[in-house]
Amino acid sequence: MSLIDAPMTPLNEVRKSPSRLRSLLSFLRKHPQAAIGFVILMFFVFVAIFGPYFAPYGEREQVGPIFGTPSSAHPLGLDDGGIDMLSLLIYGARVTLIVGFAGAVVAMVVGGAIGIISGYFGGKTDNALMRTTDYFLVLPDLVLMIVVASIWGRSLRNIIIIIGLIYWTFMARLIRSQVKVVRERAYVKRAQALGATHTRIIFKHVIPQIAPLLLAQTVLMVALAIFLETAISFLGLGDPSVTSWGKMIETAFSRSAISYGAWWAIAPPGIAVALVIMAFNMVGTAAEDSLNPRLKVSHLSRRHFRLRPLPDKEAPK
């Protein structure tokens, strides 16, 4: 689970941009992949926020037979309780995205804080923190999550905390290595020499420099969190009181949608999850690339240099 663990070279220095909106727009223009992902995300965020107002049927409203086939009234058919699948999908967006964002934010705050402290102060603190993350990295994440979830109980809050607590390590390591680079920069050294406090330096100089990377990583983390929400829900450890896409897959599976041949009960939530995760990954990797461009030109290519005729000798003037 570690596209985010790819080797990193130090970031380019971030300059103050005239406007955040404008820099977002120019980023999206330069990276069509990110632009597509961004549009998909905006669509799902819209659905998550306003979906319940335009969902055709209720979240628990039985409107037809069990596993009713898709029809014009129910384009995605009905689920095992005769509930409209399209409506469920719309309601599920909210929970899925909340878990994704909240889990990623917990990981970002915990991991970011630890990464910054570790990278900025270095020394023994750094060593201890890095050893700890070493241990966390080898733990099987989902298995640990299952253990914790089955002990702590099934609730949305617990899932968010668990996701955050398991993934802070990835964040901490990346942020730490970048903070180490920033720490050595001239203006940080100067601020230190001028007697600025550590808090001030961290907030005025370090955080603005690593913020874009932090953001890019958080975006990637959301994808991871959503992935895990579906896994945890699938294993029956999700919050029983709410509808999420992960839970929809689980219900379809446990109520034998396959034996009914009810593909419409299984396929749509999975496609929705895949689309959202892919969109987050598209935006996140593009952001990462633009922060950390690998400009190396390949020395090996199928094509070779071309020959051309000699240019005309310019007539003597």
Binding site: F305, L307, R308, P311, P316
Partner: protein, 318 residues
């Protein structure tokens, strides 16, 4: 006997924005057997591009024109196909910064053997023995061929790179900044080694560097490049004592020299961009002797002495 002759070589690069960069704008060079020629200029003057063209190692965004004659045969005529046959077997290269020229996960010896095996010159035990000989030749114990690049010092890596270049007994050696990033003592040893090897093996060498005084120590002749063209070419002593082109003169002054006691004066400004056409002499904006004519056309080639040519409107008084 001329081993390598370059006639009217041009190289262009396609740029991502659709423009074209005319990196080498028609250069002529010739190289005798056993001769050492320096190719000198600031970064971006086209000197590295020129020797990459001689190796046929230009990137796919490049196009080339002109002739590269090896023993009279035009090896550029068929593009990559004709160049490939002569790579390393006839023309070999010592790359800039030998640190990265070696693959970090393979032994030095295996990397020296690779070209022999690729060319079908030696295999197995014979290749190993030959690798040992080559290393001894550059002053490295034969047993060290099983060591990895990171176990060698910078100077030793550069020696090994020279040994690697000699693997297929080439006729021409191209050395791209062979001594940059090395400390002065090691630099001197490497230069001495190159001089000794070319003399002993009758190897012709083109050494690319930005350091004109260094070329004067090593090479019999030097070509000074500016903005993709040769601005002056001649024997190193002619260039040193009677520089014809203001750029040559300024280059000498811009490099610290232990022998001449004088101040180092850097050349103001920077070389022109080559993605647009330059009218007049490209050096004019930085030149201290420019006259009105310089703005109109590229200067014609003038012969100061037989074999000493320069492209400048202004007559330099010797």
């Amino acid at each position: 006997m001329t081993v390598l002759a370059i006639e009217d070589l041009h190289v262009w690069f396609e740029l991502p924005d659709g423009k074209e960069l005319h990196a080498v704008q028609g250069i002529d060079l010739s190289l005798e057997r056993g001769e050492r020629l320096g190719l000198v200029g600031e970064s971006g003057c086209g000197k590295t591009t020129a020797i990459l063209a001689m190796m046929g190692l230009l990137p796919p965004t490049a196009s080339a024109a002109g002739r590269i004659l090896l023993d009279g045969e035009d090896i550029l005529a068929g593009g990559d196909n004709t160049m490939r046959a002569h790579r390393w077997t006839d023309i070999a290269m010592v790359f800039q910064g030998a640190m990265n020229a070696f693959d970090p996960v393979k032994t030095i010896g295996s990397q020296i053997r690779e070209p022999m095996q690729a060319a079908g010159l030696a295999k197995g035990k014979a290749a190993r023995a030959r690798t040992g000989e080559l290393l001894e030749l550059v002053g490295i114990a034969a047993e060290r061929q099983d060591r990895y690049p990171h176990e060698f010092s910078g100077g030793m890596r550069q020696r090994a790179a020279i040994a690697m270049a000699l693997a297929c007994e080439p006729k021409v050696l191209l050395a791209d900044e062979p001594t940059t990033a090395l400390d002065v003592m090691v630099q001197a040893q490497i230069l001495e080694l190159l001089i000794r090897l070319t003399d002993e093996l009758g190897l012709a060498m083109i050494m690319v560097t930005h350091d004109l005084p260094l070329v004067s120590q090593v090479c019999q002749r030097a070509a000074v490049m500016y903005a993709g063209r040769i601005s002056e070419i001649g024997t190193t002593s002619e260039l040193y004592h009677h520089p014809q082109h203001p750029y040559t003169r300024m280059l000498f002054r811009a490099t610290p020299d232990l022998l001449a006691e004088r101040d180092v004066i850097s050349i103001p400004g920077s070389p022109p961009r080559l993605d647009q056409e330059i009218i007049g002499c490209p050096f004019r904006p930085r030149c201290d002797a420019a006259i009105d004519t310089c703005a109109i056309a590229y200067p014609p080639t003038r012969t100061a002495e037989p074999g000493h040519l320069s492209a400048c409107f202004v007559e330099e008084s010797a």
